[in-house]
């Protein structure tokens, strides 16, 4: 494996980590507030479809992004109604949201475009523009003869859409919000001991709603990134379990923002390896099947969950609807 292949794998890791990171941080807000969110997959899928459809119809990716956020937030509102307002089962509500998105996206897409659930391919103007850093090489023959520094600059750091640095910057922002603001303190407390927060005169319901809505916004962006940055159209079930992988990353990260970054980069890296199985196998000298890389994030998460290597403990009040004044 040459240096170019390595840079290409790392570049694709970064691209694949981005939607995972956005969804993972969405889950982090929601679960830190005490609301389990296994509907990340569905919210992302809804965002992906609406972004592609609206970007195609209006020709503007920004309007598409905005619409994706609205769609994903709508799903969050459903989840909030069921799990906060009506104190229903948060897990079942999440499952329902995943299926609702899986069904509705195909129904509406087929009604709008008659392509069996696909949306038409987006022209370059209706996708997120890539940001090319000054001096970056873009043509493959040039890259083949470039020195390592130029390669890293041209391929790994340059050529991404604005969503990638945005997602990365969200990590310190989330950390600051969670550990350095009053809102963050309350949010963390409400996931551990909502009764104490309530006694202090802070609304548990309101905090949980805010957390859920932030999660909706982030999942919408993650979905839009899938269909208008990585791909150029919506395809049926295009999230392909990324929501569940983000959930796994969240557990792997022990519900902490910086850990979430490392977990998502690791899982994105494994996803990238899956596409480059042959090169990797040549390097390590063992013929591992591509499905191995596919399953590894989940296996690692189960191991972490089992507590054999650094136990991961969920926010204590997670999954329990809050009943004021029993």
């Amino acid at each position: 494996m040459d240096f170019l292949t390595l840079v290409l794998i790392l570049d694709s890791s970064l691209r694949l980590s981005t939607p995972l990171l956005l969804a993972c941080l969405a889950g982090l807000f929601s679960e830190r507030s005490g609301v389990f969110d296994i509907g990340l997959e569905g919210k992302m899928l809804a965002g992906a479809f609406v972004a592609a459809a609206v970007a195609y119809l209006t020709g503007s990716v920004w309007i598409g992004l905005f619409a994706a956020i609205i769609a994903s937030v709508f799903m969050s509102v459903l989840h909030g109604l069921a799990s906060i307002t009506f104190r229903g089962n948060q897990l079942i509500s999440g499952v329902a949201i995943n299926f609702l998105a899986a069904g509705l996206t195909v129904l509406v897409s087929n009604a709008l475009f008659h392509e069996g659930g696909r949306t038409p391919g987006l022209p370059p103007d209706a996708r997120f523009p890539t940001i090319n850093l000054p001096g970056a090489l873009t043509r493959i023959p040039e890259l083949r003869h470039a020195d390592p520094m130029t390669l890293v600059w041209s391929k790994l750091l340059s050529g991404h859409t604005v969503i990638v640095p945005f997602a990365l910057l969200l990590v310190p922002a989330t950390w600051w919000l969670l550990y350095r603001t009053r809102f963050g303190l309350r949010l963390r407390a409400v996931g551990e001991n909502p009764a104490a927060v309530d006694t202090a005169g802070v609304s548990v319901i309101r905090l949980r709603w805010i957390a859920l809505l932030i999660g909706g916004v982030l999942c919408g962006i993650a979905g839009a990134y899938l269909s208008t940055a990585i791909q150029a159209s919506f395809i049926k079930n295009m999230t392909a379990d990324r929501g569940f992988m983000a959930l796994a990353a969240l557990i792997f990260a022990k519900w902490k923002p910086w850990n979430a970054l490392w977990a998502c980069l690791l899982f994105g890296f494994l996803q990238a390896l899956e596409t480059q199985t042959r090169a990797v196998n040549n390097l390590i000298g063992i013929a591992l099947p591509s499905q191995f890389y596919n399953a590894l994030p989940y296996v690692l998460t189960v191991v972490i969950l089992a507590g054999f290597v650094g136990k991961s403990i969920a926010p204590k009040a997670g999954g329990e609807p809050y009943v004021k004044e029993r």
Partner: protein, 369 residues
């Protein structure tokens, strides 16, 4: 008093939930430019119109009885097994291995062996999440989600690299030997003078599923184990004080849940496709969640809800082929999602107005206590 009469709880609430789900689905059909009444007519005709259509409906029903029972029995111990999908996939692997590699003299022996293999493989896939839940406190919902993904990767690997029919690019096993062919419903009914379509895949797994449902009822409501199981589901702390072993109950109920999911393969893999293909479960494990919630975790309810979802699935298939309607089969997924939402998560929303209504209707003298 904020209790509903039992009959309202068992019949009225699921009924209102399905009506709400259907109503919203009708709005969705209207919104995408379809005619809900026409769609409903096509679906009913598609599900029950001919004996072949009915056969397909019963075939899907059989799938959902198994997966519905799988989710339901876990719910009794207040365990949410989202892993039926993966456990069913593993059951398919068990059936395929038995059918491909053991030379059976007769289909009945093959059926017994496949029954055992399907339940063992399904149970094995539920064993690790169950163990981690009791011994290490890992949330069973999360671990079973992970195990669904791991099962998909494992089957993908096995079907592509190991037990693939080498002559084909398709990720599937070879066709099972002819001797493992189990009787279809038509093979049983036609000699009895009841005409039934020979083209539909409904097979002997349907009576087996009904028998299994009866056994589940027997165990849950008529045995000591069943009592312990329901007590554990009502209150884990109380059950512990009563000397009920949490480890034992969790393991037994999850193994049973996995085995029930695995049995799905008898109907689908052995009874219909007669080989194992990629993604054979087709979401049946998840439909089991809707079936269990709607059936109120009772075997009779599960069978009825499975019939409803069997009819929806088959009717949805026919509807998707109807040129004038142009509604894809995903409509069923939307209905499924809404049923899960209303019966599972928004239960309180459906229940509150009913509770008030019943409180109003009750004679004043009897509400005093």
């Amino acid at each position: 008093m904020n209790k509903l009469p039992d009959w309202a709880d068992v019949i009225l609430i699921p009924l209102i939930s399905i009506l709400l789900a259907m109503g919203i689905s009708a709005l969705v059909i209207l919104a995408i430019g379809g005619n809900p009444l026409h769609a409903l007519a096509v679906m009913i005709e598609g599900a029950f119109g001919t004996s072949s259509n009915l056969g397909y409906t019963l075939f899907y029903t059989t799938n959902f009885i198994f997966t519905g029972l799988s989710v339901a029995i876990a719910f009794h111990a207040r365990l949410f097994n989202i892993g039926s999908e993966g456990q069913a996939a593993l059951g398919g692997l068990g059936v395929a291995l038995v059918c491909l590699y053991i030379p059976f003299p007769h289909w009945s022996l093959a059926l017994v062996a496949a029954f055992i293999a399907a339940s063992l493989f399904g149970a094995a896939w539920a064993a690790i999440p169950a163990y981690l839940q009791v011994k290490r406190g890992s949330h069973i919902v999360i671990t079973t989600i992970m195990f669904n993904a791991i099962a998909a990767a494992l089957l993908n690997y096995l079907l592509v690299n190991v037990i693939n029919l080498k002559t084909s690019q398709e990720p599937a096993t070879a066709r099972f030997p002819a001797v493992t062919h189990i009787p279809k419903l038509s093979d049983i009914l036609n000699p009895l003078g009841i005409p039934f379509s020979t083209t539909s895949p409904a097979n002997i797994a349907l009576p087996i599923a009904l028998l299994v449902a009866f056994l589940v009822w027997l165990v849950v409501w008529r045995t000591r184990l069943g009592y312990e199981l329901r007590a554990f589901g009502q209150s884990e702390t109380a059950a512990r004080y009563a000397g009920i072993n949490a480890f034992r109950i969790t393991m037994i109920v999850m193994l049973a849940s996995g085995a029930l999911a695995g049995l799905y393969a008898i109907n689908k893999v052995m009874g219909e496709s007669e080989r194992l293909v990629m993604g054979a479960v087709e979401g049946a494990g998840f439909i089991g969640i809707a079936v269990a919630l709607m059936g109120r975790n009772h075997p009779v309810g599960v069978v009825l809800a499975a019939l409803l979802f069997g009819a929806l699935t088959q009717g949805g298939q026919i509807l998707s082929q109807d040129q004038s309607a142009a509604i894809p089969v995903e409509l069923v997924v939307v209905i499924q999602a809404l049923v899960i939402m209303f019966t599972g998560a928004l239960d309180e929303m459906v229940r509150m107005p009913l509770v008030r209504l019943f409180a109003l209707l009750r004679p004043a003298g009897r509400t005093g206590g």
